[in-house]
Symmetry: C2
Subunit: 693 residues, 2 copies
Amino acid sequence: MPLLAILCLLLLCGRPDHHMVFCGVGQLGDVLPRKAVSYNDDTVMLFRVDGVWNYSSMLLREDLGLLLLGAREVVYAVDVRNISHKMAEVWWSTTQAEQTNCMDKGKTSIDCWNYIRVLHVLQDGRMYVCGTNAYRPTCDYMVYEGGQLSLLNTKEDGKGKCPFDPYQSYTSLVVDGALYAAAAINFLGSDSALLRNSSFPLRTDIKDLCAVISEPRFISMEEVPESQGSTVGDDDKVYLFFNEVAVEYDFYSKLTVSRVARVCKGDMGGQWILQKKWTSFLKARLDCPVLQPSLPFLLQDVFLWRDSDWRKSVFYAVFTSQSGSADLSAVCAYNVEDVSQIFSTGSFKTPVSVESYYTKWILYSRELPVPRPGACIDDAARQQGIRSSLDLPDKVLQFVQTRALMDPAAQPLSGGPLLVKRGALVTRITVVSVAALDGQNYTVMFIGTDNGFVEKAVNYNGETFIIEEIQLFSQPVPIEVLRLSVTTGYLYAGSSYGAAQVPLSACSRYRSCIDCVLARDPYCAWDVNEGSCTTLAPSQSLQTGNLIQSLKNADASQCPNPEDVVPETVTFTEGSSVKLPCQPSSNLAELHWLRDNQLLNTSGRSYDHEGSLVILKASAATAGRYECQSVESAKGRKYTTTMAVYELLLDRVDQIVALALKVVAPSLAALLTALLGWNLHHGHLHLPHCRHT
Amino acid sequence: MPLLAILCLLLLCGRPDHHMVFCGVGQLGDVLPRKAVSYNDDTVMLFRVDGVWNYSSMLLREDLGLLLLGAREVVYAVDVRNISHKMAEVWWSTTQAEQTNCMDKGKTSIDCWNYIRVLHVLQDGRMYVCGTNAYRPTCDYMVYEGGQLSLLNTKEDGKGKCPFDPYQSYTSLVVDGALYAAAAINFLGSDSALLRNSSFPLRTDIKDLCAVISEPRFISMEEVPESQGSTVGDDDKVYLFFNEVAVEYDFYSKLTVSRVARVCKGDMGGQWILQKKWTSFLKARLDCPVLQPSLPFLLQDVFLWRDSDWRKSVFYAVFTSQSGSADLSAVCAYNVEDVSQIFSTGSFKTPVSVESYYTKWILYSRELPVPRPGACIDDAARQQGIRSSLDLPDKVLQFVQTRALMDPAAQPLSGGPLLVKRGALVTRITVVSVAALDGQNYTVMFIGTDNGFVEKAVNYNGETFIIEEIQLFSQPVPIEVLRLSVTTGYLYAGSSYGAAQVPLSACSRYRSCIDCVLARDPYCAWDVNEGSCTTLAPSQSLQTGNLIQSLKNADASQCPNPEDVVPETVTFTEGSSVKLPCQPSSNLAELHWLRDNQLLNTSGRSYDHEGSLVILKASAATAGRYECQSVESAKGRKYTTTMAVYELLLDRVDQIVALALKVVAPSLAALLTALLGWNLHHGHLHLPHCRHT
């Protein structure tokens, strides 16, 4: 499997000094986070209200200094710099009648609450809120004025904007005042569509089963300003990511694949054919090839990292294994222009009927109608008198009506995943670009997992490095939403249990220069003058004199020698046991115990127990100097940090007293006996029965 | 995923008392072997000769008391009751010229030896041996006479009987003096076929790419006497198992599936069409559905468990996950009659050309030619004057020439796997039926792994139980061949490293009645009179009076109370540490420590370390009675066995001496002082400097 071998060499095999050529099951995705931060670390802040659950929608209003949290039956506004500080709240409860009606239709009482699932900001600064509202999705406008959060009570039908089912997949986006939503559009959840709610409402066709969307799970939506700098007068696009059952394959069971689709912002539907339907909905497979052969990994979340030039923007996507037997997740990144090209220049797949009972999907090889089906209205079309999609010729609309599927599939940058992770499955991703001391920008990924953790990872020249793993919640709940604010420097996460806030970096956590440099955190550098690990200010990249950072090379050899560790004296008594505690500086480090500067063989009478050295039955020979070293390898170099030094002393007082007693008592007894004997012999003392009378 | 849930409930979830409804990745296939037997156990016997490798073919000659081992450049005859006892050997070395010639063609020196890969016994008692012979496969006859093994030197061309490449997949079978072989038939290994080497040689067609065999990996071959008791005058069949690239699916990458194929023993090829080719080669997919969705698991080995009625015979097959990310293996069993039915009554798949460039495989729905294509010549055909396949009409032969693939796929008995195992992948399986004390027969599976182990497993009412795991080789080498002899009661395994022999049962390994009964080994029962775990003699099933066995229920409640464990006295000194060793009775048992009949909380000053209880800084309060209990759960009941009892005593002598010294020494000193003072006072003694002169 050459692909496997290459992937392994490039990306996967944990520590770079291993130089492994073959990567077995054991190694794949076994990249350890260098540090583990617990949820009760003082950098992790929590917001939750007793009895309130499902903090699953989130809106960042840096302009108001607020983070809005949509939970079950309530919206909270919390301080964006300290989310545990609640600023305002507004309740939107289902009525008893609504709940009864919902339960009468066969839903459980827990599903018949109002789950706030949509929170958007509008151009005028008002907010748009939708909730499932006991299986009757409803939307409203919300304002924050005078420290109060209030709903305007202009209740609008939320069908096609918000799902009925609080647990059903869903995504939405506001572009130029129009709400784009991909959701189930009926009570049963059986019909799904991509809709635009605006003065020109549009939707995908649900009737043609094979052409548009089949049993989808909607993931995310992003706007890309493709009109910017377009030489052909192209339109802006809205991209939709989802998983669906593939219609184009003939497999021995149902096959689910990941998709990227896009529509043109200026689409107005067709005049007669595709009336009020998308004329520009095209989709393609989205590949994240991890281990071959395998079923395609399935998309869980997408984050659009925006460059000022949309062509250089990147979709970061997280995937998990489709097969229940593998607990693998992966991150793949896609160049936006590459994806756009598939739709503007790729081939169309087309169904062909075989013996009137079967369908075969093949590449459409004949001449395409003009303008190109699914293309946005561009200058060339306008020159032909086609000013909007309403003017498109019938043959173009007929073509695209049954042929939404494009070829080839979207492939990740560098051909493979940026990260493969074994263990807890990933749910969400958000990405930020950080300027480092070397003047370069590095992409830091924050990846949420299904057990309440966030992993902070960077890819250095194809090598993925997990800087830290932060436990955000005391419960193993999936991270349902992740937001990042460069302004405040915080990451926000929502789950069914609550919302959490954590700084994008906490450099002071690194105590030594080696620890700070090996952290390879683009935010952090070691300040030689201050003797501390400091957060780089955005403009600090040029003042490199007193700062040490080594992101790609993980080279801590410039670090000044650390101060000597003060030995701790431990006295012990003969035959007792001694336990010497020690913690490694990171998860990537190994502990070595030295005794009188010799590597200790921990077997027989001494062994490791949870990082501590345990010595059973200490004897006089046990005494000596014990040093605990944390040895961390990075890029072929080894860095040794002394974590603790113990001077073991046999308890002398105890020893001398015991020895003295053992020697002195017989001597005393002998002396006493001799003196008594002498006295008796000389008759100074008489034994009672032989007293002379 | 209801299938998953059902599989879990039925088969997979470890201990039966868990009653789990959902089975996550963690649980799937995590069935622990109850006992682990090491390779240096005295029941494991080894045969290997220094410098000789690849003991990968094996022929059991119980009639001669021999086991024949085909290795690299040599065949050994060893004692079937003690394989470490070599009886004879015959070398068949490649010449220098052959090796040079082989290396000149670009092969490595290691591949240019003579690997003995075929060992068959013929009807006249002679043996037929083939070797790769430096990429020029050659066969010869071999006899064992007068304690000597010798080759007859009638060197025959081995092409089509033995592979060129020592590592290429291959299988063969001798039926009625004809050698059926499935192998690569050219030097490059690119062309493969199923061939019959006999007076009527036949082979599969390699020209028609889509119809017959595509990039196969051959697994095994079995003869089934389907003419026995046939009311329609059917022929015997030869079944072939292999993996191949599926041509019938349209998947986004190459898809490999497992297949079962069969030919009729009486096939003589066609007269003009399919001349010297099989007219009866039909194949179908072989499914072993483990976790859905997933890529099909791939076949590794098949064992035909033969019933006297062939219809009740069962194919036992082992599979491994196709995806490199999952280390899962599974055992599926197929009823022979069910498989036979697919070929005799199933539908044909047929390729249809789509737009002259694509192919779609659909079910052939029109009327079939007569006689049924691919069917053996039966009474109905003979009545039509068709006495052999040479008489078959052209339309029948033309039909089967491009339509070897049948539908539906072969499904396992009970719908799912008998066993799913995580960890080391399985390579081989052999099965034996054992009569137990309850008069029923149980199927015991011996499963070889890719790291040199054999697992002995039984399926009781859908619950798979691994009785023991036996390490056969000191090296983690794949088991390449497994043979079982009911006559000798031994299992034989071959690997690149050597051959191993192990008894089918070793009941004496179970020391207590509970251990013996919970072993659930159909071979073993506890003899109450003898007080030992004994091997059941074949006729013993009726003498149940003094024997206890409980296979399905694992009920050891009938066991007599074990004798009390004699406590071991351990004395300790104050402040010292104490280590009390204990081993659980099985891998399924937990250790509990009791102190003075109270469950001990192993935390703080005492903790577990590799089964031992370690007490740090023992004090007078530490003294007491410590009991180590092994608690094993089976079918909702818990069985407690006391493994060790320790009486901890503070070392009284040491204690008294120390106490005495501490009390006595001052008393002695006081007495001595008093006596001295009294003497001085009375002038019996004079201090030196004030002596009266």
